[in-house]
């Protein structure tokens, strides 16, 4: 019995000694971990939810949703089979706040019908999983477009169950694109693409890609205003630009920060812009900006 008590005392003393020895490092380490956790990750992509008000934000390896009603951010679950760090594009579907798409190189295209609770790979008919970008049709909930590196643009009219190659995409490689219901198309709308040399534009019958205006700069992101479809925004390496005639002419807009890398426009016309880890909002078409959640 005494031997047992002695043994416990020795173990206890060793624990105390170990704690005294490593304690400061443990506390320091905990602080380091917390600091790292709190470091704001980069915003990689933005999208406005199908109801026109919900904002989606891909921040490093996490997807968040912000409802306009309460302004609170909620994390959206991602598919378990997917390495979140590979997600580079998100899209929301017209007239539904629950249907989401995500895409990335090596991932292909994934769809959720219930706000991210469940996800399903939708890659039948795609020649590879090297998806660079995904965008949903502005009006047709079942129509979605994906751009695959080296293969071009594919369209699905049944929510990603089957895909069909439409064309090779713009001459310069596409990094992001958006479907717009701007009038004047032979078919049902237009596609605006951010490329290494400017914004490219095509009707959604894929009758040919043309340079939209003469930006002559690498474009990080392009978005259009659903309430004024001729109004298009382009975030470029030379700054933020806005067009009021469908990309035919551009004028420089006030940028919220040095380099804008993601854009989205709500149905109301509110413009969201991401610069690094910071999110900004403009309610006057890009003339003035305020931080969101500053």
């Amino acid at each position: 019995m005494r031997a047992v008590r002695h043994l416990r005392s020795v173990v206890f003393d060793k624990r105390i000694a170990l704690l005294l020895l490593l304690g400061p490092f443990a506390v320091f380490g905990a602080v380091m971990v917390n600091t790292k956790d709190r470091a704001p990750p980069q915003i990689l992509a933005l999208a406005v939810g199908g109801d026109g008000t919900t904002l989606l934000e891909m921040r490093a390896d996490k997807l968040y949703r912000r409802a306009a009603a309460d302004g609170a951010w909620a994390q959206v679950p991602l598919p378990r089979a997917v390495a979140p760090s590979r997600i580079t594009a998100i899209a929301a579907v017209a007239k539904s706040s629950d249907v989401l798409y995500l895409a990335g190189q090596g991932l292909g295209v994934w769809r959720s019908d219930n706000g991210g609770r469940d996800w399903e790979a939708r890659n039948d008919g795609l020649p590879s999983r090297e998806a660079i970008a995904v965008t949903a049709h502005a009006d047709r909930p079942e129509t979605v477009y994906a751009y695959l590196a080296g293969n071009g643009i594919f369209r699905s009219e049944d929510a990603g169950k089957h895909w069909k190659q439409m064309d090779g995409g713009p001459r310069a490689a596409l990094t992001q694109f958006v479907h717009s219901n701007m009038p004047g198309s032979m078919q049902s709308g237009w596609l605006f693409a951010a490329t290494r040399t400017g914004v490219a534009r095509s009707m959604d019958c894929f009758c040919g890609w043309y340079d939209a205006g003469g930006l002559n700069a690498k474009v990080h992101a392009v978005a259009y205003a659903p309430n004024q479809p001729q109004r298009v925004y382009a975030a470029t390496e030379k700054g933020l630009f806005v067009s009021v005639n469908g990309g035919e002419e551009w004028r420089r807009a006030q940028a919220p920060a040095g380099s804008v890398t993601a854009l989205a426009v709500a149905r109301s016309g509110t413009v969201y812009a991401a610069s690094g880890s910071k999110l900004f909002r403009s309610t006057d078409g890009g003339q003035t900006w305020e931080r969101v959640d500053a």
């Binding site: 069909k164 078919q187 019958c205 894929f206 009758c207 035919e248």
Partner: protein, 168 residues
Amino acid sequence: MRSALLASAMVFAGVAVTAHAAKEALPPLDPALAAQGRSIYAHQCASCHGPQGEGAPHWQARNAQGELPAPPHGPQGHTWKHSDAMLYRIVREGWRDPFNKTKRLTMPAFRDVLSPRETRAVITFLKTLWKPEQRRFQWEESRKEPFPPQTNRTTRPADDRPPHEHGR
């Protein structure tokens, strides 16, 4: 080893043949309708789109007036990407590129020139210019957006005639 490879190759070939056979066969084009369309094309379309459907020179860039020249209708163009319904609509109603620098229609309307059946005929002729895979693409696009029913009428009702033929 060789027999195993041969067996694998036969299985692969069998799968490929089965997959190919699973594709629905393209419906043949009506030769009489295509011939009628060829004649109409020569009279109504060739002056802009070229006698062989080759399109206007430099058709991919805007001309000095800021308009898009007439595109080719063959494999190098994009006519094959449009459904029957859309091609019919564009020929009948015309279309103006919203980025045109003039007020003119990019594609003039032929509603008053061609009957619905004649419009279908000329589109049928255009299909003879396409590659098989382009024909298939266009056929798939058209399943949801086919020609309107009035294009099936081979006899032309009086009120369907182009105005210049009324009273003949």
